[in-house]
């Protein structure tokens, strides 16, 4: 499958949240739709479809990227992690626990994309300053005004990880 064979659907294997999945879609299909509609992973959300809001962010080989703007072919052979893959109620990621502890969020639509950006930051810089957190979340929009609670949550998660 290549960028050129964009039109026709083909079956390919995708590495998502630590497991191999078979999906069938055209090579130019945005990764977001594949994750949501074929794999039933609804954490990555549609917000703009043009890489401007961060609602659809996922980790690809550890980098936070917009899945709405990433064609399927560009994700092949790479490790994809969505917010579901970071943790769940039984095994929450420190960032997820911290968001709950800080009650960071109102509608929460922006949160999975923000989690992904923050996870990439903490992997790169385990003890970020507040300004690092704000810079790392600069491409994530939140319309509800939950920003400050989210920033506190990321700093709290960094502390929790360092205490382990």
């Amino acid at each position: 499958m290549s960028a050129r064979s964009a039109g026709a659907a083909a079956t390919v294997r995708l590495d998502v949240n630590g497991a191999e999945h078979e999906v069938s879609a055209a090579a130019d299909t945005p990764l977001l739709y594949v994750l949501r509609n074929q794999l039933g992973l609804k954490a990555a959300h549609f917000g703009c479809g043009s890489g401007e809001c961060g609602a659809c962010r996922v980790l690809i080989d550890g980098q936070a990227v917009a899945s709405c703007d990433t064609p399927l072919w560009a994700a092949l052979g790479k490790r994809i992690t969505t917010a579901e893959g970071l943790g769940d109620a039984a095994h929450p990621h420190p960032l997820q626990s911290a968001l709950i502890a800080e009650q960071a969020g109102q509608c929460g639509y922006c949160l999975p994309g923000i989690l992904v950006s923050a996870a990439a930051l903490l992997a790169r810089k385990p003890q970020p300053a507040e300004s690092d957190v704000r810079a790392a979340l600069e491409q994530n929009l939140c319309r509800c005004g939950s920003h400050n609670r989210i920033v506190r949550a990321v700093l709290r998660a960094a502390q929790a990880v360092s205490r382990r």
């Binding site: 401007e52 929450p92 319309r143 400050n148």
Partner: protein, 716 residues
């Protein structure tokens, strides 16, 4: 149309008055149901729009029933079963739904105590409820679960069982964690956008390129030729496409865009002169309020100023979405609407169906700050699902749809004049405003207010935006009556009778602009007298709760000890939302560099009894950050034909690096009735920022947003 609106419009006849929404939804079984497994199902007609209402209402129910919150199951609102509570708007949900639930649950508890008393052969007065167990002093027990019987609540509420005193509250008044947040943090499917039904098709609508455009011709060939396209629907200027896969629907939409020829017309105002345009339109003029004699006689000086704000977009983080499915002439719709019954009424009009044939079920959307595209998307989904042969259809708006087709918060112009005596005291005050109506909500006109209804071949005339009655808080005139003790005033509202851009309710309606204007003007008067703006306000305010929030905010911000430094300023603003809701005062501290940067907002609020104090703080903080974004950055952009701010690049909102620190102090008022918090901070925040800009630069910016260019233009 929330309950307050319906009551203002004439309510439930001669029936005895019951608290909140209980008045119009009088059967107890409409509100709650006890299950044999110990769970209690609670229904509200108010819906979660990101404000945390579900958690607050669950707290109220758990409190009155004496059960742990985990036993309460809040059911989604649906026209098939829920109480009709109008619209979730106006910061009225804790007042309307909360008080109904308090009384309904207190009464239900008493009914179950009676049932237990009969079973145990003991007087009801000897029984208490502990965690859902009904216990007698002697050790005899029963429980809600054991007694669960739907017939017990099949009766009219009488509201004759007093709810708990605030001193007895154990759950209400505590900062309980949001019930919905864990699901959202783990990325579980939760939003209407995430709903997936068997056999579901994906749909997109081809919206015209400009508000007045009509479809001249459409070449559907390329779209239809795409493998996987199920149908192309065209009805007048309404066009949509259905496909098995979402990406195919998107491709087909692009093909349709290329195949469409539109008639367009220059119908939009000159965006650079909105104030003049607003004043020049035909309008319906009403006197909002008048007191004393507001003539200039005896005045040594009259101070005048005009303030404006542009059209604002809701700019929800999620474009609107809805699902629709037809079955035997019956329609089922899943929507993030704020008012499921009103939506149903307009769907019935647009589709020529009896309302009984339609079920509207609420599923959460992203944060909603007023009348956005949710209802419109529901009609789109219903229209497109007609071509789906019984399969469910998921319709998703694009970002451009959301930013250019959801109703806008109306542009406004406000002119204030004050007659002053030689000592600078205010003799009379005049406030005149020009604006489109602030509500185009569905469910109240003879023709449907839904977007697609005006684009169909058999088009319905789009109703003109109106203002909710003043008794329900008003629309454009909301907060136009000053909260100050002034000897005379005259408040005039001009509602525009032309509506080139569709306008409707945006968080706080006219209050944002009116408070911005009034509180800026008061600052101008203070500057004219060389008086401290806080001192002047305290002199003019007699309402003790208003004074209390003002003093609390000033104290916390250390107003008196502010050190003036080059390029920095502080400012203050205050209002009581709607003149009847929560009191809120804001101190803003800003730095004027290349742009205005708000560094800190210190806010004090009085919301009466705070059901969930952290929820209140969260809403106030979120509202203040959003208001900062409106004040500094936001305006719908357009040329004479088209909306041009159809992406985030052209409709920027405040980002993480630009967000101020926010401190919220909630004044404790456990004995006062609860008041909504969602909108109280909007106007005071804008005013505080504008006043801080003046403090920093000596420049009075009266036209929002306060951008660097605006400041330069004002200086010149």
């Amino acid at each position: 149309m929330n309950l307050a609106y319906r009551l203002a419009a004439g309510g439930a006849g001669d029936l005895p008055r019951l608290p909140g929404s209980l008045h119009l939804n009088r059967r107890l079984s409409q509100w709650l149901r006890f299950l044999p497994d110990g769970t209690i199902e609670v229904r509200s007609g108010k819906v979660e729009i990101g404000q945390g209402i579900t958690t607050a209402l669950a707290q109220i129910a758990a409190e009155e029933l004496d059960v742990p919150i985990a036993r309460i199951r809040m059911l989604p609102a649906s026209t098939a079963a829920s109480p009709n509570e109008g619209v979730t708007s106006g910061s009225l949900s804790t007042q309307e739904s909360g008080s109904a639930l308090r009384y309904a649950c207190a009464e239900a508890r008493a009914i179950y105590l009676e049932a237990a008393a009969a079973r145990l052969g003991l007087p009801a007065a000897s029984l208490t409820v502990v965690d859902g167990e009904i216990v007698a002093a002697g050790g005899a027990r029963s429980s809600y679960a054991e007694l669960a019987d739907d017939a017990l609540l099949e009766r009219e509420a009488r509201a004759n069982v007093p709810p708990k005193e605030s001193s007895q509250h154990r759950i209400v008044g505590t900062a309980l964690a949001r019930l919905d947040l864990p699901h959202k943090v783990y990325g579980e499917p939760r939003f209407v956008h995430d709903l997936e039904l068997p056999g579901m098709l994906h749909a997109r609508v081809l919206r015209p390129p400009s508000p007045a455009a009509t479809l001249a011709s459409l070449d559907e060939t390329a779209a239809r030729a795409l493998p996987g396209v199920v149908a192309v629907v065209r009805d007048g200027s309404f066009v949509g496409v259905l496909a098995g896969h979402e990406e195919i629907a998107v491709k087909a939409l692009t093909a349709l865009q290329q195949g469409a020829v539109w008639h367009e017309a220059e119908t939009l105002p000159d965006a650079s002169a909105l104030g003049d345009w607003l004043k020049a339109q035909p309008a319906e003029t009403t006197i909002v309020d008048e007191r004393g004699v507001s003539s200039a006689a005896g005045a040594a000086h009259t101070h005048r100023a005009r303030y404006t704000r542009p059209y604002l977009a809701h700019a929800s983080i999620a474009p609107s979405c809805a699902l629709g499915q037809w079955h035997d002439g019956h329609l089922h719709v899943w929507s993030h609407s704020q008012g499921i019954y009103n939506l149903r009424a307009d769907l019935a009009l647009a589709l020529a169906l009896p309302p009984e044939n339609i079920v509207v079920e609420h599923v959460e959307g992203a944060g909603c700050y007023g009348h956005n595209g949710a209802d419109d998307a529901a009609l789109d989904a219903a229209l497109l699902a007609r071509a789906a042969a019984g399969r469910p259809v998921r319709l998703q708006w694009s970002r451009a749809d959301e930013l250019s087709w959801a109703p806008f918060g109306p542009a406004m112009a406000v002119e204030i004049e004050a007659d002053l005596d030689a000592a600078g005291a205010i003799l009379a005050w005049r406030h005149e405003l020009w604006s489109n109506g602030h509500s185009s909500r569905p469910g109240r006109a003879k023709t449907p207010a839904l977007l697609a209804a005006s684009q169909l071949g058999q088009a319905f005339e789009r109703p003109l935006a109106i203002n909710p009655p003043l008794a329900a808080g008003g629309g454009a005139e909301r907060n136009a009556i000053p909260g100050y003790a002034l000897p005379a005033w005259r408040i005039v509202n001009h509602r525009l009778l032309a509506m080139p851009l569709r306008t409707s309710a945006l968080r706080s309606l006219g209050a944002f602009t009116n408070v911005f204007a009034i509180e800026s003007f008061v600052d101008e008067l203070a500057a004219g007298r060389g008086e401290d703006p806080l001192a002047l306000r305290l002199r003019l305010l007699s309402d003790p709760r208003a004074r209390a929030v003002l003093e609390a905010a000033a104290k916390r911000a250390n107003w008196a000890a502010w050190e003036k430094r080059e390029g920095r300023g502080h400012g203050i603003g205050i209002a009581r939302y709607k003149g009847a809701g929560a009191w809120c005062a804001v101190v803003a501290e800003i730095e004027a560099g290349r742009d205005i940067r708000v560094e800190r907002l210190v806010i004090a609020v009085d919301v009466g009894l705070a059901i969930n104090p952290d929820g209140v703080a969260n809403q106030i903080e979120g509202g203040a950050i959003q208001a900062t974004s409106w004040t500094l950055k936001e305006q719908v952009r357009f040329d004479r034909t088209r909306i041009t701010s159809d992406g985030w690049e052209h409709y920027p909102i405040l980002r993480f690096s630009e967000v101020p620190r926010v401190e919220v102090e909630i004044l404790p008022q456990p004995r006062q009735p609860s008041l909504g918090a969602g909108e109280a901070a909007q106007g005071p925040t804008a005013a505080a920022i504008a006043n801080a800009v003046f403090d920093a630069l000596g420049v009075r910016v009266r036209d929002l947003p306060i951008t660097a260019e605006r400041i330069v233009a004002t200086v010149n």
